[in-house]
């Protein structure tokens, strides 16, 4: 074997070693990301369960023990942002991402139901938005709608947005879609129990929100959410 051939083989070995190390590193980092999401989800799940339990224990009178900070924690939306980022990185067909999305959707539904209960009992007046999107190419204005909702959520802290992948194969989500009678015309919104389809502009979307939201909320330009 001459020197050049030997060098070519050694170089191939070095290249494969470098590429292997890099691929492993990126995989490890992505797994760490999913692990962080999982941990956040577990923590939020525990918090939600704790609230549900408190609610059951105090029987319709938990209001003084539940601070509005807890109810309106940013945890859920931060988790949603991180999950969306992980989905962008690993792809919407990644099995781990799909499982995490299902857990997240479940968490959102539980939180939504709890908020509904609390708002009735404790006179907390959150503005809830159920937002149904799709990333399979059948929703041309979902990006715009999602961005507009992010803006509203950050600007008006009373708004609580629950985003759902319309096509996610999850029984609870299908039931929610059925109960709320959501048609597959996306994007779809349920704002304060009222259905609304399509997105044209932020101004048009704002019209669907209760007027007192803009009168009483303090617009913020900073926040902890992404």
């Amino acid at each position: 074997m001459n020197t050049i051939t030997r060098n070519a083989i050694i170089a191939l070995g070095i290249t494969l070693l470098i590429v292997g190390t890099i691929v492993y590193t990126v995989h490890y980092i992505n797994q760490q990301r999913l692990s962080e999401i999982n941990t956040m989800q577990t923590q939020l799940s525990t918090d939600t369960l704790s609230l549900e339990t408190q609610f059951a224990l105090l029987e319709n009178a938990p209001c003084q023990d539940i601070s509005s900070d807890t109810v309106f924690s940013h945890g859920l939306s931060t988790l949603g942002d991180k999950l969306a980022f992980a989905e962008g990185r690993l792809g919407s067909r990644d099995q781990q991402v799909i499982e995490l999305k299902k857990e997240y959707a479940l968490l959102e539904i539980r939180d939504y139901l709890l908020i509904q209960k609390l708002s009735t009992t404790c006179h907390i007046t959150p503005v809830t938005v159920l937002y149904f999107y799709s990333n399979t190419g059948d929703c041309s204005s979902c990006d715009r709608a999602g961005y507009a909702l992010s803006y509203m959520r950050k600007t008006y802290p009373r708004i609580r947005v629950y985003s759902f992948d319309y096509h996610l194969d999850l029984g609870a989500l299908k039931t929610l879609i059925e109960v709320k009678k959501i048609k597959p015309t996306l994007p779809a919104f349920v704002i304060q129990r009222k259905r609304f389809y399509g997105f044209t502009s932020l101004a048009r979307l704002e019209k669907e929100f209760p007027k007192d939201l803009f009168a009483t909320s303090t617009a913020t330009s900073t926040g902890s959410q992404k």
């Binding site: 020197t3 050049i4 030997r6 060098n7 070519a8 050694i10 170089a11 191939l12 070095i14 290249t15 470098i18 590429v19 890099i22 691929v23 590193t25 990126v26 980092i29 990301r33 962080e36 991180k82 980022f85 990006d143 715009r144 961005y147 507009a148 803006y151 950050k154 600007t155 502009s201 932020l202 101004a203 330009s221 900073t222 902890s224 992404k226």
Partner: protein, 413 residues
């Protein structure tokens, strides 16, 4: 299957493989031996150094002075200044050396650099070795002594030097300084596999028999030095490199001038390869040059240009998408910076491969500086290179490809 992403991954893999191969070759015996070469030649063949000039009034004196300081037996060294029909004060500056015993001056009508070189070769018909030095370049006093050592091996037909940028001042010149230092290592490694395909204008030396056997310089699509090297390779002549032969050249100081210079080099390379020396590409008879260096050079020019255009297209598409998505949203929200979170840091395979490639490039620069003992500091130049090269270089590649396809020719100056 062969979308831009796949092409990017394949290109990065090939680039990584090539750099690894160069690094291994650098460490292997043939290259190591060459680095140990000292200025120990007992022979002093007669050397004629030709300086072709066209409107070089500002640099020709310094170039000539640097040649006069060469440490070489005076009786065996002659300097031939060829004025290729300059329209500035070059002739008058040259005239100052008219009475110098080792300098001969020849004036001719403008016909291009290759004609000036050929005129010089005809004058130097008795010389054993012909050296060429661009009129905007300067040699170290010990340069010729080191260069001649390469000719101790009878099979060596030409030798190239270690070029670097003379007194870099602005960022563009510093960027080129780093690039040239990188080039010193490249030439050193490639020469150990006889894979050089350019004998640059700044101080390359040839045995006289080269011109007798394969002819004089030709136009070579404005890259006569490349065409000569390719012709030599085609004739299976050995081209050596001497990293201790230091020569400094004036580098373009503006982006426009740099792009123009590099367009000439790149389109000259493409035209020579595609129209004159296609038979060398992929041909195992020409060793690593044929099966590796030339195909990879063409591949890299095309892919870098293609990926650059694709990136520009993607950036514009993303900007349009962002504009559409954020339409109607207050600017104060859009421009609010997000809180930094490592979670969102975009660590991707391509980013990490890019970092490895850049690190290897920097290692090659450090090596280049060490083996040539070129003066100057690398820090600022490396920073300029990292900052600017990836933005500017694709521009000349794209334009050179376009010129080659459309058969467009530009004047050199």
């Amino acid at each position: 299957m062969w979308g831009p992403n796949t092409i990017t991954y394949v290109s990065f893999f090939i680039a990584l493989y090539f750099e690894s191969f160069l690094l291994v070759t650098f460490l292997s015996e043939p290259a190591r031996k060459r680095r140990l070469t000292e200025r120990n030649s007992n022979t002093a063949p007669s050397v004629a150094i030709i300086v072709p000039c066209f409107n070089e009034e500002n640099t020709i004196a310094s170039t000539t002075e640097s040649l006069l300081k060469l440490e070489y037996p005076k009786e065996n060294l002659s300097i031939i200044l060829v004025d290729d029909g300059s329209t500035d004060n070059t002739a008058n500056v040259m005239a100052r050396y008219a009475r110098h015993p080792r300098i001969s001056i020849h004036t001719k009508e403008n016909g291009g650099k290759h004609t000036a070189l050929n005129a010089g070769i005809r004058i130097a018909k008795d010389a054993d070795i012909i050296g060429c030095l661009d009129a905007d370049s300067f040699v170290e006093p010990d340069a010729l002594g080191f260069a001649i050592t390469a000719f101790d091996r009878p099979e060596v037909m030409a030798t190239t030097s270690a070029m670097s940028v003379h007194a870099p001042k602005n960022l563009i010149q510093h960027m080129q300084y780093a690039e040239y230092i990188f080039g010193i290592t490249m030439r050193h490694i490639l020469s150990s596999m006889n894979s050089l395909y350019v004998t640059p204008g700044p101080f390359s030396l040839y045995r006289m028999e080269v011109f007798k056997k394969i002819g004089y310089f030709s136009h070579g699509y404005q890259t006569e030095d490349m065409e000569m090297a390719l012709r030599m390779q085609k004739a299976h002549m050995l081209i050596e490199n001497s990293p201790r032969v230091r020569v400094y050249t004036k580098a373009p100081s503006t982006i426009t001038a740099l792009i123009k210079q590099r367009m000439r080099w790149t389109s000259g390379f493409l035209r020579n390869m595609l129209f004159e020396y296609r038979g060398l590409i992929g041909n195992p008879r020409y060793g690593v040059l044929g099966i590796g260096v030339l195909p990879l050079s063409i591949f890299s020019i095309i892919t870098v240009a293609g990926l650059f255009l694709f990136s520009v297209f993607q950036i514009i598409s993303n900007m349009i998408h962002m504009f559409i998505v954020s339409r109607g949203i207050p600017l104060s929200y859009i421009l609010t910076p997000h809180t930094f979170d490592w979670f969102y840091f975009p660590i991707t395979t391509l980013l990490l491969v890019g970092i490895v490639l850049m690190s290897m490039t920097i290692i090659f620069m450090i090596i280049g500086k060490q083996i040539s003992r070129t003066p100057g500091k690398l820090t600022k130049s490396t920073a300029s290179y990292i900052l600017l090269y990836w933005i500017i270089s694709p521009i000349w590649l794209v334009r050179a490809i376009a010129d080659t396809i459309t058969n467009t020719h530009h004047t050199w100056r």
